[in-house]
C-alpha cells in the first residue's frame, strides 16, 4: 500500500443529500477515503464513482450546511479497520470509531475517536524466534486479551516471504511499539508493531485452505441444532416480516453459541436493541466459560438513525474484525441485523447517482455484492495447521414480508442454511417462529457433518432428524385434511398423526427465549427430549373417538413442556418425567 506524501486535494461542486461531487485534478482511486472540510470539521467520505475530473463521494455524515467550494483531502487509502489487541468488549460505530469515548449525549459530526487504546501496556510473549521463515498472518507473539490469547501476526498486507530477524523478549508493550523485525527476500528490514490496518472491503486470505465445514456449531436453539443445524464456518440467514422474531433469535444465538468470539453488527436497526446488548452482556455469563459475555463480544452499532452510508461499511468492518480473529485460530460467530438495511443503503446511493436500477430499484450488482460478502465466512486451516472459523448469520427484512424480493433471493443463493420466520407461527406465539418445513440446512446433506453428528451425538441421529421432518410434513397434511373434511370426516389416524406432530412442535420446536432455563438447551438435553418425542411417535394409542384425542395430547404436551422449564436431570425434572410416563401408559397399546 502506498501512502502519498502530498495529499491530493479537491473541491466540492455538488451536493445531493449525502452524495457529494468533488472536482479533483490529481489521480484518485475507487473507494478511496477523503475528508471534506466543513467549517473546520472534517467529514469522512468514500469515493464511489469517478467521471472525468469529478469524484462522486458518499459522505458518512449529514451534509447539512455544506457548501460548494469546500476543500476535500484524499487520503490515498481505502476504508480500513485498525487491528490489534483491545478490540474485544468494545462498542464501535460502523467505521470502527469507539462510541464509549465520544463526548456528549449526541453524536457530533466529525467526532472521530480511535479504535484502540494506544497507551495501554500489554504483556507480550514471543512465539517466533530469529531465523523463522514467516509470511502474512503467521504468529510472532501473543498477548492476553480478556481470556483470549491474542496473536500478534505478520501484517496481512505483507506480500511474500520474510525471515524473522528479531522478536522482543517477553515484557510489557504498547501497541505501537516495535515487537519484531523481519527481513524480506531482498534483505530489507521491516518493523512490526502490534497494530496493523486492513481495507475492510477486501477479504483477508492469510490461510492455507478452506475445506467444507463439518463441525456442528451449537446454538442452544433446538429448532436449529436438532432440525437444521448450522456449522462452524457455515452461513445462514433469517428472513422474516417485522415482529416475527429475527432479533430475538439472533440475540439468543449470540448469547448461547459455542464460539470464542461473537461479533454483532447492528446494521440499520433499532438503537434500543443495541442498548439491550450494552446493558445485558456485561452482566450475563458465557454458559461455557463462566466469564462475562461482553468479554468475548464486539459490537458494531450503526443503528437506523446513524449515517446511512456507514451502514454498508459497518458489515464490512465487522467481517474484517472477524477475519482478524479467525487468523488467530479462533471460532468466530458473526451476526448482522439486518442485511436488508445495508442493501437499502446501497439502493439509496445508487438512486442518487441515477444508475440504471435493477429489480425493486436495487443496484444491478446486488446479488454479487451479497454472495461476495457471504463467501468471506468459512472454516479455514491456517498456515501453521491450526483451524479457525467464521460462522455468519444475517437477518433479512423483506418488504411486506414477501420472500420474493431481491435481497432474500440473492441471499438464498449465497447462504447455506435458511431459517424462514413465519408470520403465522409468530401470530400464534409459536416461538421461535422458524417454519420447520420451509427452512433448511444444506449442511445436513454434507456427509462430513452427518459423520460428525453420528459420531458425536448418536449413531441414529441423522436418521431421526429426517424422521422428524417427515413427522412434521405428515402432521401438516393431516391438519389440512381435518380442516377441509371436519373432525369427524377423517379417520381417527389423521388426528393421531396431527397430534404427534404437535407434540414435536410444542416440545422441540417451540422454545421460550425469555425463560432462564428453556432459553438455552444444550445438545445433550436436545437429544434426551428428542427421544421422549419419538417415544410418543412410536407408540400406538387406543381412542374411542376423536374427541378424546385432543384433551389427551394436550395433557401430554403440557407435561413435556413442564420438563423444558426445569433444570435438566433435577429431582423435579425426574418427577415430571414420571408423570409423562404415566400419561403415555394410560392409552398405549403397543
Amino acid at each position: 500500500m502506498s501512502t502519498k506524501s502530498n495529499l491530493t486535494v479537491g473541491k466540492v461542486t455538488g451536493i445531493i443529500a449525502n452524495l457529494v461531487i468533488v472536482e479533483v485534478h490529481n489521480p484518485v482511486s475507487q473507494n478511496e477515503i477523503c475528508y471534506i472540510n466543513h467549517e473546520g470539521t472534517d467529514l469522512m467520505a468514500e469515493i464511489i464513482k469517478v467521471m472525468g475530473n469529478k469524484a462522486y463521494v458518499q459522505v458518512f455524515e449529514s451534509t447539512r450546511g455544506l457548501k460548494p467550494g469546500s476543500v476535500v483531502e484524499f487520503r490515498g487509502h481505502m476504508l480500513e479497520a485498525t487491528l490489534g489487541p483491545g478490540i474485544l468488549s468494545r462498542n464501535y460505530d460502523g467505521l470502527q470509531h469507539d462510541l464509549d469515548v465520544m463526548e456528549g449525549v449526541f453524536l457530533k459530526r466529525g467526532n472521530y475517536t480511535r479504535a484502540l487504546d494506544h497507551e495501554k501496556l500489554w504483556d507480550f510473549k514471543p512465539l517466533a524466534k530469529a531465523g523463522d521463515k514467516v509470511e502474512a498472518g503467521d504468529w510472532l507473539g501473543e498477548v492476553q486479551e480478556n481470556s483470549i490469547p491474542h496473536k500478534i501476526m505478520v501484517p496481512f498486507v505483507f506480500g511474500g516471504n520474510y525471515t524473522v530477524k528479531s522478536v522482543v523478549k517477553a515484557g510489557q508493550h504498547k501497541i505501537d511499539d516495535t515487537i519484531a523485525i523481519l527481513t524480506d527476500v531482498k534483505g530489507q528490514e521491516v518493523k512490526v508493531t502490534m497494530v496493523q490496518k486492513w481495507p475492510v472491503k477486501k477479504a483477508i486470505r492469510a490461510f492455507r485452505e478452506k475445506p467444507r465445514p463439518f463441525k456442528l456449531l451449537e446454538t442452544g436453539v433446538r429448532t436449529i441444532d436438532t432440525l437444521n443445524p448450522i456449522v462452524e464456518g457455515g452461513t445462514g440467514f433469517i428472513p422474516g416480516p417485522f415482529g416475527s422474531g429475527k432479533t430475538v433469535l439472533q440475540h439468543a444465538i449470540s448469547k448461547q453459541a459455542e464460539a470464542d468470539i461473537v461479533v454483532v453488527a447492528a446494521c440499520g436497526e433499532r438503537a434500543n436493541e443495541v442498548v439491550e446488548l450494552f446493558t445485558e452482556f456485561p452482566e450475563l455469563e458465557d454458559p461455557r466459560t463462566g466469564r462475562k459475555l461482553m468479554e468475548r463480544t464486539i459490537i458494531i452499532a450503526n443503528t437506523s438513525n446513524m449515517p446511512v452510508a456507514a451502514r454498508e461499511a459497518s458489515v464490512y468492518t465487522a467481517m474484517t474484525l472477524a477475519e482478524y480473529y479467525r487468523a488467530m485460530g479462533l471460532k468466530i460467530l458473526l451476526l448482522a441485523d439486518s442485511t436488508s438495511r445495508w442493501a437499502q443503503a446501497l439502493r439509496e446511493m445508487s438512486n442518487r447517482m441515477e444508475e440504471l436500477p435493477g429489480p425493486d430499484a436495487f443496484p444491478m450488482d446486488l446479488p454479487a455484492i451479497i454472495s461476495n460478502f457471504y463467501s468471506r465466512a468459512g472454516f479455514v486451516y491456517l498456515n501453521n495447521g491450526k483451524s479457525g472459523s467464521i460462522t455468519f448469520i444475517g437477518t433479512v427484512s423483506p418488504a411486506g414480508g414477501n420472500l420474493k424480493e431481491p435481497v432474500t433471493e440473492s441471499t438464498k443463493k449465497a447462504a447455506r442454511a435458511f431459517y424462514a420466520l413465519s408470520q403465522q407461527r409468530a401470530d400464534s406465539k409459536r416461538y421461535p417462529a422458524i417454519d420447520p418445513i420451509d427452512s433448511y440446512s444444506k449442511y445436513l446433506e454434507y456427509p462430513e457433518l452427518q459423520e460428525y453428528l453420528m459420531k458425536n451425538i448418536a449413531e441414529d441421529w441423522v436418521e431421526n432428524v429426517m424422521l422428524l421432518k417427515n413427522i412434521l410434513i405428515r402432521g401438516k397434511e393431516a391438519s389440512e385434511q381435518i380442516n377441509i373434511l371436519g373432525d369427524d370426516g377423517v379417520p381417527l389416524d389423521y388426528h393421531l398423526t396431527y397430534w404427534k406432530s404437535e407434540v414435536l412442535d410444542s416440545v422441540i420446536l417451540q422454545q421460550d427465549a425469555f425463560d432462564q432455563i428453556d432459553a438455552n438447551c444444550p445438545m445433550e438435553r436436545q437429544k434426551y427430549m428428542l427421544y421422549k418425542v419419538l417415544e410418543v411417535y412410536n407408540a400406538e394409542f387406543s381412542f374411542e373417538g376423536f374427541e378424546e384425542v385432543n384433551p389427551y395430547f394436550k395433557r401430554m404436551i403440557n407435561q413435556l413442556r413442564q420438563m423444558n422449564y426445569l433444570s435438566f436431570e433435577s429431582d423435579e425434572f425426574a418427577q415430571n418425567e414420571k408423570e409423562f410416563h404415566k400419561i403415555i401408559k394410560e392409552r398405549r397399546v403397543a
Binding site: 457548501k67 438503537a271 442498548v275 427484512s397 394436550k554 404436551i557
Partner: protein, 441 residues
C-alpha cells in the same frame, strides 16, 4: 423570519416544477432555508452554482423573477419553557394569537443520540386499557404506532392514553389533521386541565401538504429540549404519519427520484427511522416516548408506509371492532409491544408474561373454532368453551373502555381460565398454577 440587510437578493429563477424552484446562486449551504416570493423554502440539491429549492407551500403563481433570499441556516425552533401550553404551525410560528417564543434557537432534525448514552427503557406506562397494559405493555422511551383504518377512533384512544400516561409534557405533532380533530384534541386536553403541559405543532388539511414534513422534527426538537435540558418525561403524539410519508413522496417524485415500492422514495426507511429513533430513555430520568398513528388503506399492512414503520417502531397497536361484543378492542393477534418484556413480570406480577401468552393462545383457538363453524363443521366441547372464553375475554380485557390496574387484569384472566378450562388446557407453569389458579388456596 426577518431578512438581514447584507443578504443578497436573487431575482432569476431558471426552473420551476410543482414543488421546486432552481436558480443560480453562490455560497449556499445544503438544507439551508430560503424565502421565495414570500414563501419558505429549503435547499435540497446543489450542482455547482445551480441550487434547487423545495417550496413548502407549493410553487403556484411563482414568477421567474421572484425574489429569493437565503437565510444561511437550516430550519430552527426557539426552545424555552414558554413553549408549554402553546399552539404552532409547521414552521413553529404561533397560531394561538400569543406572542413569539423567546428562547435558544436550535436546528431541527439534529444529530442522533450516541447509543451508548442511552439507558435501557424500564419504566412502565400505565394506561388502564387492558388490551395495552396486559398484552402490549408500553414503556417510556418506546416508539409505537397505532395501525388503524381511517374510520377507527385512534385519536380518541391516543388522547386517552396521553392523559393517563403521567407525562411531564405532551407534544402533539398534527399532520393533515382535520380541523375537527384538531379541536377535539384541544378540547380534551383543555377539559382535563392539562393544557399547560401540552405543546402542539399542527398542520391541518387546510395547510399545504409539503409543510407537514417539518412537523415531526419541530415536535421532536422541542421534546429533546424538555427531555435533555429539563430531564422531563415527554410524550410525543404524531398523527398521521401516513400523510407525512405521502408528502415525502410528493417531493421526491417531483425531484425525479426513482421511486421504490408504492411510489415511495427509496430512502423512506431511513427517513422514518430518523424520526422514530428520537424516542429515547436517558439515564438521568428524561425520556421521549413516541406514540404515532399510521393510517392504513383497506387494512393493508404490506404497503410501504406501514411496512417500513413496523420495521422501525417497537411494536404496533391494532384497533378492531369486535362485532360480537359491539366494541372496539385492541387486537391481540397483530398488536405487539416489543419492549413489554423489559417490564412484565418484573415491574408487574410474576405471572404476567405467562398469563398473557396463554390467554392469547386460547383466543387463537377460539378463532380456529369460529373458522370451523363458518365452514359448517361441528364443534367439539373444547371448541365451544374457547368461544365462550373469547367473548368474555374481549369484553373484560380487550375492549378499549376497560380501565383497571394490571393486577386486576391478571386476576380477571385467571378467573376466565378457571371458568372455561382445565389446568392442562391452559398449560401454564405448575408453580404459577399452584399459586394463582382460583380456589387453589
Amino acid at each position: 423570519m426577518e431578512t438581514r440587510a447584507f443578504q443578497k437578493i436573487y431575482t432569476k429563477i431558471t426552473q420551476i416544477t410543482k414543488a421546486t424552484c432552481s436558480l443560480q446562486a453562490t455560497g449556499v449551504g445544503n438544507e439551508e432555508l430560503a424565502m421565495v416570493h414570500g414563501r419558505l423554502a429549503q435547499v435540497v440539491k446543489i450542482a455547482g452554482d445551480n441550487v434547487t429549492l423545495q417550496i413548502f407551500s407549493g410553487t403556484e403563481g411563482i414568477p421567474t423573477n421572484a425574489e429569493v433570499v437565503f437565510f444561511n441556516k437550516p430550519p430552527t425552533i426557539k426552545v424555552s419553557d414558554e413553549l408549554a401550553g402553546r399552539f404552532f404551525n409547521a414552521f413553529g410560528q404561533p397560531i394561538d394569537g400569543g406572542p413569539e417564543i423567546e428562547g435558544e434557537e436550535r436546528e431541527i432534525g439534529g444529530p442522533s443520540v450516541n447509543p451508548v448514552r442511552r439507558k435501557q427503557p424500564s419504566e412502565l406506562i400505565a394506561t388502564g386499557i387492558a388490551g395495552i397494559d396486559l398484552n402490549n405493555t408500553l414503556v417510556t422511551g418506546q416508539k409505537i404506532p397505532f395501525f388503524a383504518d381511517p374510520d377507527q377512533p385512534f385519536n380518541q384512544v391516543m388522547a386517552m392514553v396521553a392523559l393517563r400516561a403521567k407525562a411531564d409534557k405532551i407534544i402533539l405533532g398534527g399532520m393533515g389533521l382535520t380541523n375537527d380533530d384538531y379541536l377535539f384534541y384541544k378540547n380534551v386536553f383543555d377539559n382535563a386541565g392539562a393544557l399547560d403541559r401540552i405543546i402542539s405543532f399542527v398542520n391541518t388539511t387546510e395547510d399545504p401538504p409539503v409543510e407537514r414534513l417539518l412537523v415531526p422534527d419541530m415536535a421532536l426538537t422541542a421534546a429533546e429540549y424538555f427531555a435533555v435540558d429539563k430531564k422531563e418525561k415527554v410524550l410525543v403524539l404524531l398523527t398521521d404519519m401516513t400523510l407525512w410519508a405521502d408528502a415525502l413522496s410528493i417531493v421526491s417524485n417531483r425531484m425525479d427520484q426513482i421511486p421504490s415500492k408504492d411510489s415511495m422514495p427509496g430512502s423512506l426507511y431511513s427517513d422514518l427511522a430518523k424520526l422514530y429513533e428520537k424516542a429515547v430513555q436517558f439515564p438521568d430520568g428524561g425520556s421521549i416516548t413516541i406514540i404515532a398513528v399510521t393510517t392504513l388503506s383497506g387494512g393493508d399492512i404490506t404497503h410501504a408506509i406501514p411496512d417500513n414503520t413496523g420495521y422501525i417502531t417497537e411494536g404496533q397497536l391494532f384497533l378492531r371492532r369486535d362485532t360480537e361484543i359491539g366494541k372496539v378492542i385492541v387486537d391481540p393477534f397483530r398488536s405487539l409491544s416489543r419492549l413489554k418484556q423489559l417490564v412484565i413480570g418484573k415491574k408487574t406480577r410474576e405471572d404476567h408474561p405467562q398469563v398473557m401468552n396463554a390467554a392469547v393462545r386460547l383466543y387463537a383457538d377460539a378463532a380456529n373454532a369460529r373458522t370451523k363453524l363458518e365452514n359448517g363443521f361441528d364443534l367439539t366441547d373444547y371448541d365451544q368453551r374457547t368461544l365462550s372464553f373469547s367473548k368474555e375475554y374481549s369484553e373484560k380485557i380487550l375492549a378499549i373502555d376497560v380501565n383497571i390496574d394490571t393486577e386486576q387484569m391478571l386476576v380477571t384472566t385467571w378467573d376466565l381460565f378457571a371458568t372455561h378450562f382445565s389446568e392442562a388446557e391452559v398449560g401454564l407453569k405448575k408453580e404459577l398454577v399452584d399459586k394463582y389458579w382460583p380456589g387453589k388456596n
